[in-house]
Amino acid sequence: MNGLWSVIRKEFMHLRRDRTTLMIALVMPVLQMIIFGYAINFDVRHIQTAVADLDNSRESRQYLAELHAGQYIDYVASLSSPEQVAQMLRNGSARVGISIPKGFARTLLKGGNPQVGVMIDGSDAQVSVRARFAFVSPPKNLPAGVPDARVNVLFNPDSKTANFMIPGLIAVILQIVTVALTAFSIVREKEMGTLEQLMVTPVGRLALMIGKLVPYAILAMVELIAVLTLSDLLFGVVSRGSLITLSIISIPFVVASLALGLLISTIAQTQGQALQLTQLSLMPSILLSGYVSPRETMPGWLYMLSSVIPGTHYMQVTRGIMVRGAGFVDLIPQFLILSLIAFLLILASTARFKKSIA
């Protein structure tokens, strides 16, 4: 065991100086514990629900209040027609829609069973199963009759897991691959010494960033086509919506993910660190994006954190288009958010790049 003590001491010295590795080693398990612990929670409650109460009577309001008391659903919008409710479901801003027809109170007070239209977004099987619970047992404190809730599961009515999971998986895979594509690009040049040469040339920082991004963006779009083809061939999952729309909204997502990789590349001092940081960024991409379990189950701060990850919004896009057949107009918010994230990440990595060479 000659020199064991010296080696131990030396390694500690390396570790003390390599702050990034030290930070990763200390922070990673803490983050994993927190994120795994909170994010994987299948006990879905407070599902976003849109309501069109055409009867607008004391009884209809009481019925809605009783449904809400079960904690499965939260009302996020009060609309004037069932069509508007359906629209909210399609663009993903609500998961459950309730339409109470005119004459609800009259039928109820006569002791009858007034029909209530319930639409459930079936694209996320876990959410739709929970949402159904809300309507299983009819409210007890209503006068006379019992409302008859007709549950109609939209999109993926047979609750086939693949229909829901594969579009999500596409988002996860693209996120993982794209971040890794650029995460090494700057730090590799740093290690090879070519960055030193570039710095004395008049090449612009932004030009360097975008120049590194464009080829990989094209590559990522090719990968998108590949995974879409595979999802059809292997799992029989075919998009209900337009693939052209999907491709267009994929552009800001791909750019955002690549820019995240670039940011990692400007932070890391070595390729080894870049690898670790990439892995660190992958965990939230998978766990927080809504792929594993619905974002609705997350506590508020984690929900916030998940919304800065490009994959989160992109997952809504792939699921929206492929499962619900959403159109571009339905997904404009996601398109804008992804574009904003891409823009900010490019700015951040360009700014960070300046600091790292000074």
Binding site: M192, G193, T194, E196, Q197, M199, V200, P202, I357, A358
Partner: protein
């Protein structure tokens, strides 16, 4: 644009936190010269070069390069200089042709003009037959020639070479210097940092940086003639002997010898003028060493740097 002084720096200073890496450096480089920039590692050489290249902002002081201010006109500086670093810093996975095409493109060259420039620099450094293999597979000397070609692609009047010959073989080193003389003859200015004394001897101007300060500057002849290098009452002699290392030991401890070192199998001494050659002869025979020839010599650049550095360390 015929500037007489292609680089002028006044009070150039760079601090990193509380550490002063470059301390009030004044420096003038004449157009068309080969300026040798010497100094031990960590003395601030690279920091000076980075400031002059417009990559690093000075904390204090001013400098102009090609007439451009290093604080405010960094982009113009970058366009008007070439830079070649000690480690090969072109893309190893690209061929020389691809590397030159890339760097030419960055400097805004395109189309026919770019092609002509590539042809010209390839011709100049003699790289023609290696154009299609990955640059990483070239030998050290060819890598440096390729790097020089890349540094010349946009016809800069001034080229910075940061230890260009570190780690390459003597033949490649000589031919690289021949190339520099050639280009210098055509009016190019070179700012070369180096550790090699023989390379320093070849420069038309020299600056020596030590502990962040530029402590010596001038032509090699001027530096050797400095009074501090040959203090009053001393002279330099070379002792030719069959056993240099034993002789060095014997002579080091001799009275009247201020400094002794080995150069090319001869013992170089700095002795008091009062010590005659015969005293050296007798000291050697006392130590049972073969007799030898003693002759007077001029100080070398190494003598210059050693003497000045020592007197600084003492005082």
């Amino acid at each position: 644009m015929a500037l007489e002084n292609i680089i002028e720096a006044k009070g150039l200073t760079r601090r990193f936190g509380s550490f002063t890496a470059v301390d009030h450096v004044d420096l003038v480089v004449k157009a068309g010269s080969i300026y040798g920039f010497l100094g031990p590692n960590g003395s601030g050489k690279s920091t000076v070069i980075r400031m002059l290249c417009g990559v690093l902002q000075p904390t204090e002081g001013e400098a102009t390069v090609n007439g451009f201010n290093v604080r405010t006109e960094t982009e113009s500086i970058k366009r008007s200089i070439g830079y070649m670093s000690q480690a090969f810093s072109l893309y190893r996975d690209l061929t020389p042709a691809e590397n030159l095409d890339f760097f030419g493109g960055i400097y805004g060259l395109k189309g026919k003009h770019l092609k002509e420039r590539i042809d010209a620099v390839v011709e100049l450094v003699g790289l023609r037959k290696y154009m299609e293999q990955p640059s990483g597979t070239l030998s050290g000397g060819w890598k440096q020639r390729l790097a020089l070609a890349a540094a010349l692609i946009h016809e800069p009047p001034l080229i910075f070479l940061d230890e260009p010959t570190a780690g390459i073989d003597p033949v490649a080193r000589r031919s690289l210097w021949d190339l520099l003389f050639d280009l210098s003859g055509q009016g190019k200015t070179f700012f070369v940092s180096t550790h090699y004394m023989d390379e320093a001897e070849r420069c038309s101007q020299i600056g020596y940086i030590y502990l962040s300060k530029l402590i010596l500057k001038g032509t090699p002849v001027e530096l050797k003639a400095m009074p501090e290098v040959s203090p009053a009452g001393t002279r330099r002699v070379s002792v030719e002997t069959d056993n240099p290392s034993m002789s060095l030991r014997a002579l080091k401890s001799m009275k009247g010898v201020r400094d002794a070192t080995l150069v090319e199998a001869e013992v170089h001494l700095l002795i008091d003028t009062g010590t005659p050659d015969s005293a050296i002869q007798s000291a050697l025979s006392e130590a049972h060493l073969p007799p030898s020839a003693v002759r007077s010599i001029e100080p070398s650049l190494e003598d210059v740097f050693v003497t000045v550095t020592r007197s600084l360390d003492k005082g």
